[in-house]
């Protein structure tokens, strides 16, 4: 059976253009879909990001902007728009790019891909309407017995099915490329990473359907009761795994950016690919870390699900944490930056926004998102920060300072290569990733700090002014929440600059003609393999070794500091 019979009617002919910078053959149908998904992604980022700013300004005790009902409404919308709609629309663009374009292939069934896209748009709008109507402030996790309007769940289901279609098109495109022999040998590493993302996405969306469809029927009154614990177990199989799609996707983009900007080549394909593969095998289990403080789940269940299996996935990330900078150092040394331990790093293209976005994403994802994720996912330590604002601190480290920043960086490659527009406002583009990155890292750290001091997440008023029994948080907690607000403003300015540059470029950027020289140039090697280092002879990577050791020491210290905190709590068993 061919891929075409699986997917149905497929136009045999596709139109191509050749990219003058990378030499890649670009299917114009795939290009249009990438544009549409990227634009939709940015629209939802703008909406969700604005909501995020409102949330942060409300949680800044001195500002306390929104009233309670609006706060919970906006918080629900913030989660849905940025965590789901922005990220998954962008991932669809990544999937189409990593399949059709990197493999020089035509896209399987572009019409069906458009159907999927429309479903995603309709779903995202339906959910947003439900949220804005005010009866669906159930938060991103939407735990029963708290109930939202039926179209809240229906929108999420439609969106998920649309995304599932996108994954199917991706798989079919891989099959077509193989059949039509548009590339030689194995698929490129970036495509391999995207493949792991798509496989995890299928698992995730299936879990989502299993839990959201009954919940939808329940909100329609067709099912009487949803067990809240059961709901949580299945929900998190979707909720946490969906974040692993992001990890696979943004790690792929790290490799992509490093390849296009400095000509980096993986140290060894085997190691990098195995690290991606470990995500598929083990990451799903990390989802249990949201259930560590729940009743009725056995300690051994918790240990198995959050522990060694999870650490094997963490191992995957730690491997990328060495191989990505290692590939960069190796490439930069080939490029002639060989003096001292760190010349390769100093002479990296820091003025290129794609580079800045990628590298800051790598650092923040590892140091902030990664380490806090492991601590949060440790059976006993979880009791210290479960449901405190530490949890959003952690995931802003992973999905904002990590994924979102990497996606923003990649956008600066998409604009010239796919939209064929020269970046408008290059000076703003240069500082944008730094502003956003520092803001995002700041909010992550200060939320984690406040969480360690007991500040709850999803909470309108930490002064408890209307409460019958008063309680006062420490002055340190208030300071942390204030700093969180200030860094949220910095991140928001970075976000607004991003929207400004992207929208400006899409509509008013200079059209790129043959022979145009890019403001933010790619590596001169373009799409061709430029060097033959790597697995053939052992490279010396002293800079990378030092960076990785600093990371490891931070990891170990922070891990034990938390055990010390824990040992000072009241005794419980």
């Amino acid at each position: 059976m061919t891929a075409e019979t699986v997917i149905g009617a497929v136009p045999a002919q596709a139109e191509f253009r050749t990219c003058q910078y990378t030499g890649l053959k670009v299917d114009t149908a795939a290009q249009a879909l990438i544009k549409a998904n990227a634009v939709a992604a940015v629209v939802f980022l703008a909406i969700g990001g604005l909501m995020g700013l409102l949330v942060a300004l409300t949680r800044w005790p001195a500002v306390h902007l929104l009233p309670a009902d609006w706060f919970y409404l906006i918080l629900t919308g913030h989660g849905a728009n940025v965590l789901l709609f922005w990220i998954i629309f962008f991932e669809m663009a990544v999937l189409y790019f990593a399949s059709a374009i990197l493999l020089n292939s035509r896209l399987a069934a572009p019409k069906l891909a458009w159907v999927g896209f429309v479903m995603m748009v309709v779903g995202a709008i339906a959910t947003n309407v439900a949220v804005l109507q005010g009866d669906s402030s159930v938060m991103f996790t939407s735990y029963p017995p708290m109930k939202a309007q039926p179209h809240f769940y229906l929108g999420l289901i439609l969106f998920a099915v649309g995304a599932l279609i996108g994954c199917a098109i991706f798989f079919a495109t891989l099959a077509i490329a193989k059949e039509e022999k548009t590339y030689e040998g194995s698929i490129p590493l970036v495509t391999f990473g995207a493949l792991t993302a798509a496989i995890i996405a299928v698992f995730t969306i299936a879990s989502g359907a299993i839990i959201l469809i009954p919940t939808w029927l329940w909100s329609l009154g067709l099912i009487n009761d949803i067990d809240p614990l059961m709901y949580k177990v299945v929900w998190w199989a979707m909720g946490h795994s969906s974040q692993q799609i992001n990890v696979s996707a943004h790690v792929s983009l790290w490799y992509l950016t490093a390849a296009l900007l400095v000509g980096a080549k993986p140290l060894s394909e085997k190691v990098s690919r195995t690290a991606f593969f470990m995500y598929i095998l083990f990451l799903q289990l990390a989802s249990a870390h949201h259930l560590l403080a729940d009743p009725a789940l056995d300690a051994s269940w918790k240990i198995v699900n959050t522990s060694y299996m999870m650490y094997l996935a963490v191992l995957g990330s730690m491997v990328h944490g060495l191989t990505v900078p290692g590939a960069i150092e190796s490439a930069q040394r080939k490029n002639g930056y060989n003096r001292g331990v760190f010349e390769w790093l100093r002479k990296s293209p820091w003025g290129h926004p794609a580079w800045a976005g990628m590298f800051l994403s790598l650092v923040f994802f590892g140091f902030i998102g990664g380490i806090s994720g492991v601590v949060l996912g440790t059976e006993q330590l979880n009791v210290l920060m479960h449901n405190t604002i530490y949890v959003p601190g952690h995931f802003h480290g992973t999905v904002v300072a990590g994924t979102t920043l990497a996606f923003m960086g990649a956008t600066y490659l998409v604009l010239p290569l796919v939209f064929e527009r020269e970046i408008l406002f290059p000076k703003l583009a240069k500082i944008q990733p730094y502003l956003f990155g520092i803001g995002a890292a700041g909010i992550s750290l200060f939320m984690m700090g406040a969480g360690t001091l007991g500040v709850p997440r999803r909470h309108w008023d930490i002064t408890f002014s209307d409460a019958n029994l008063s309680f006062a948080h420490s002055a340190g907690a208030f300071l942390m929440m204030g700093l969180n607000g200030i860094f949220a403003i910095i991140a928001a300015i970075g976000g607004i600059l991003f929207i400004l540059v992207v929208v400006g470029t899409v509509f008013f950027g200079e059209k790129i003609k043959a022979g145009h020289k890019l403001t933010f140039p790619l590596h001169s090697g373009g799409g061709a393999a430029v060097s033959h280092y790597g697995s053939e002879k052992a490279p010396k990577l002293p800079g990378t070794i030092i960076l990785v050791m600093i990371f490891f020491v931070c990891f170990v210290l922070y891990y034990f500091i938390n055990w010390k905190y824990l040992s000072e709590l009241w005794l419980f068993r």
């Binding site: 040998g185 140290l267 009725a296």
Partner: protein, 191 residues
């Protein structure tokens, strides 16, 4: 490059770089250690969450808590009973929209069997400033052996969003020093 097919068709036969191998071994051993440490904490540590839980109808739980409060109430505060259970016994705490009920008065250094459940939505038991955080579900009665190690006044707040009044959902635990004579007697009696 990472955007082109691997140079060697059979990429899984490539040798692994030494630096990569060393890092993989370190990361693997560190993971193994962290795994072992969680298990070890069940033996060396005194902070491990109980797995004792029962299914219970919310109305049945409410009745149990009412009865418990009636039996041991010592005074009232803001219309809420302050309950001082016998040291070392079963203690019931209930979460509902939007309060933790009743107020508890415990003794320092004494272990209590604290029962936690909700009679409506999910809530989050967050003891402050101690920072012990536990999820509370309707339909599940979670039993935790808890030993306060400090005396004073402690707040319970809700950290699972439970509707518009979520931020008003608070509770209180008083921990008193036990009288020396009583403590010694209890110790002598083997508790």
């Amino acid at each position: 490059m990472a955007v082109t097919p691997p140079e060697q068709r059979i990429w899984w036969n490539e040798p692994i770089e030494r630096v990569e191998l060393v890092w993989i071994v370190i990361a693997f051993l560190w993971g193994l250690f962290m795994f072992g440490f969680m298990i070890a904490w069940h033996f060396i540590g005194q902070q491990n969450l109980s797995k004792e839980a029962y299914r219970i109808a919310p109305s049945a739980y409410e009745a149990k808590v009412d009865e418990f409060a009636k039996k041991f109430t010592v005074r009232e505060e803001q219309g809420i009973p302050v309950v001082k259970p016998k040291p070392g016994t079963d203690v019931y705490l209930l979460g509902r929209l939007w309060q933790w009920w009743p107020i508890l008065e415990l003794e320092k250094g004494v272990s209590y069997r604290i029962h936690l459940s909700s009679i409506d939505w999910q809530h989050g038991f967050s003891l402050q400033p101690v920072n012990i955080n536990i999820s509370v579900h309707p339909g599940y009665e979670h039993v935790i052996s808890l030993t306060p190690t400090q005396s004073g006044e402690f707040g319970i707040i809700c950290n699972e969003f439970c509707g518009i009044g979520h931020h008003t959902m608070t509770g209180k635990i008083y921990v008193t020093e036990q009288k020396r004579a009583e403590a010694e007697q209890r110790l002598a009696g083997g508790r």
